[in-house]
């Protein structure tokens, strides 16, 4: 077994175990922390697929920004009161299970029948190259220079807007 497949099984095991922990643990904070580990495991899987950029973004955006948001929400809504939510609403629980089954079915279909349908033969070399940080940086600074700069102004406008709506000057 090559090092690559050892790493793959290692990260895959982390992802599976932590994702089970996310839905099984009673404490929502523990769920959220397991989700962070799950994201980290997925980032590792991406790395073994040579998608370095997606791996980094996975850690920064999901494990960093979005999970902080999750924890803030958990902190603010006092989850003790919501603990019985699913016990009281049986139909809601059935709905979530139904959605889970549908998604699982789609994924199984893709894995079993999809290998011949969806691989665009001959492009794997190219897609390996696209996933690297150098390649994405190069694209951002050449053909996507204008959108890249425009996003800078978008973020500026959004942060000024957020500050305007939150600051004390109004009162």
């Amino acid at each position: 077994m090559s090092l690559e497949s050892v790493l793959f099984y290692f990260f895959a095991a982390i992802s599976i175990v932590t994702s089970i922990l996310v839905i099984s643990s009673k404490n929502p904070v523990l769920s959220a922390l397991s989700l962070i580990l799950n994201f980290a495991g997925l980032a590792g899987v991406y790395l073994t697929l040579y998608a370095q950029f997606i791996a980094v973004v996975q850690v920064i955006v999901y494990a960093g920004a979005i999970m902080v948001l999750f924890l803030f929400v958990i902190m603010l809504i006092r989850p003790e009161a919501e603990r019985n939510y699913f016990q009281e609403r049986k139909s809601f629980k059935m709905l979530t299970i139904g959605i889970g089954v549908i998604v699982l079915g789609q994924l199984m279909f893709l894995i079993i029948s999809g290998t011949s349908m969806f691989t665009s033969g001959g492009h794997s070399e190219q897609s390996l190259e696209v996933g690297t940080v150098e390649r994405i940086g190069w694209e951002l600074m050449t053909s996507y220079l204008l959108p890249f700069e425009a996003i800078g102004f978008l973020l500026l406008a959004a942060s000024i807007g957020a500050m305007v709506l939150a600051k004390k000057k109004f009162e």
């Binding site: 600074m141 050449t142 053909s143 996507y144 220079l145 204008l146 959108p147 425009a150 996003i151 102004f153 978008l154 500026l156 406008a157 959004a158 000024i160 807007g161 500050m163 305007v164 709506l165 000057k169 109004f170 009162e171």
Partner: protein
């Protein structure tokens, strides 16, 4: 990496406004009582951007690795956005003092939204359209809720934000499907591959979702639910901006997506979709506007109807139709700016006083304001010789040329209905009397803004030919 000085010159209106945003930010930070100068600074900046875009009208070029088109039709949109926003900044100066939101950030958000509109109108790549749209929308969400102590303003901002994000969801999903079908987000790639794409369900669904996303932004029925509450609740000067230049920006995006599709085949798959949207918007807007008692709400419904008239031009899609839509957008922008400018003058300090009953007897107490308002209402209802008439004329004519006479007939019927509620305001102003009218002394800046708009309405009504020729020359 290839971009030249020539690229930068072609792009200079956009660059100037970008530099202007940063300059405004620095002035706001360093200068004491910056609010006082920022209004005029914004006005001068936007005027120079408008002037620059007119100078560069013949400077057609694809810049920055074919990501952006400048010159021609795009520069007419640049002019419309910047000049419209310049008038809005004139209208805002006194109004935001009255509303208690006199902060420098107001002007930063105003300029940023104009930058977003410009990025939409010149895009040749869906990524640019998306970034521009988000830039514009984020600024509008903030501006709508700028009056934080007013509940209706907050409600408007929240409603606009939630439904706007929902619309963006449609748009991004559509872009994802288009990317899946084409393998690229560039408009030129779509033109090249159109023959195979036009039967691809992925591409058609994607484009349909794209159209739905922008139907939210142009306020077409059945995606109009947010319009009345947001237009009523937002500060009046902000409503003036959203309802005019914001709508024009969304229309420019629709023109971009339609040009490759319809070049290849007319009538296309989307012609019936656009026709249905147009008919629903015209009739719904005109009929529901009749029962409104608030002037801002009435104008919101009329804005839905006007979106319907403009969609006729897109459905017909011949040279007359597209230039007619652009003419209509310019005319509509200045008619609405004048109307909202006058409303913002008459509005009271607590932001009430926008009901029809508040205008009783205005014709005797404030003859100048009432006269201008009457003129604007005549123009909006499409009575010659004002700009509104020729906008409708060109659009209806294009529908007849495209063999869609029924669409023009529905448009005429809807215009006739709409005359009722526009003229109702004139009746209230001149034939009712009331002692409750509060005298207002309009500020110079606001009057200047209203006068510019009214003058343009009259010029476009008296000499529509020269303006339509100018628009035609850019194709």
């Amino acid at each position: 990496m290839t971009f030249t000085v020539h690229d930068l010159i072609s792009l200079s209106p956009v660059l100037l406004i970008g530099v202007g945003i940063l300059a405004t930010l620095i002035i706001e930070m360093l200068v004491k009582e910056s609010e006082k100068i920022l209004g005029w600074f914004t006005f001068v900046l936007l005027l120079s951007v408008a002037y620059l875009s007119l100078i560069l009208l013949d400077h057609t070029a694809l810049v920055f690795e074919d990501k952006f088109l400048t010159g021609g039709r795009v520069n007419i949109f640049f002019f419309l956005f910047s000049f419209g926003a310049a008038v809005v900044s004139l209208l805002s100066m006194e109004y935001i003092k009255k509303a208690g939101i006199h902060f420098g950030e107001y002007y930063i958000m105003l300029l940023s939204s104009v930058l977003g509109m410009m990025l939409i109108s010149g895009a040749t790549d869906f990524i640019m359209i998306f970034i521009g749209l988000e830039q514009m929308s984020v600024c509008f969400y903030v501006l709508a809720g700028f009056n934080r102590r007013n509940e209706r303003s907050l409600e408007a901002a929240l409603k606009y934000f939630l439904l706007g994000s929902f619309a963006t969801g449609f748009l991004v999903f559509g872009l994802g499907l288009i990317y899946g079908a084409v393998g690229s987000l560039s408009i030129t790639e779509i033109v090249i591959g159109y023959e195979t794409l036009k039967t691809s369900p992925l591409f058609l669904t994607g484009t349909l979702l794209f159209i739905i996303g922008f139907s939210f932004k142009i306020a077409a029925v059945p995606f109009h639910m947010w319009v009345p509450d947001v237009y009523q609740g937002a500060p009046t000067s902000v409503t003036a901006l959203m309802s005019t230049t914001g709508k024009a920006a969304a229309f420019s995006a629709l023109i971009i997506i339609f040009s490759p599709i319809i070049q290849a085949a007319y009538p296309s798959f989307f012609t019936p979709v656009i026709s249905v949207l147009a008919v629903l918007s015209m009739l719904y807007g005109s009929i529901v506007a009749i029962s409104q008692n608030d002037l801002k709400r009435m104008l919101a419904y009329s804005s839905i109807a006007h979106a319907g008239y403009m969609l006729i031009g897109l459905a017909a899609w011949n040279e007359k139709g597209v230039s007619g839509v652009i003419f209509y957008l310019v005319a509509y922008t200045f008619m609405n700016l004048a109307a909202f400018g006058l409303i913002s003058l008459i509005e009271k300090r607590d932001l009430r006083g926008t009901e029809f009953s508040d205008y009783k007897g205005l014709g005797f107490k404030q003859p100048v304001l009432a006269g201008l308002m009457a003129l604007t209402m005549f123009a909006l209802s499409g009575i010659p010789p004002f700009a509104g008439f020729f906008g409708k004329y060109y659009v209806f004519l294009s529908a007849i040329e495209a063999g869609m006479t029924w669409l023009a007939i529905v448009g005429v019927i809807s215009s006739v209905i709409s005359v009722y509620f526009y003229l109702r305001l004139i009746v209230v102003m001149y034939f009712d009397n009331s002692d409750e009218i509060v005298m207002v002394t309009p500020s110079t800046s606001a009057m200047l803004g209203i006068m510019i708009s009214v003058l343009l309405i009259i010029i476009m009504g008296v000499a529509p030919g020269s303006i339509i020729n100018l628009i035609n020359s850019t194709f």
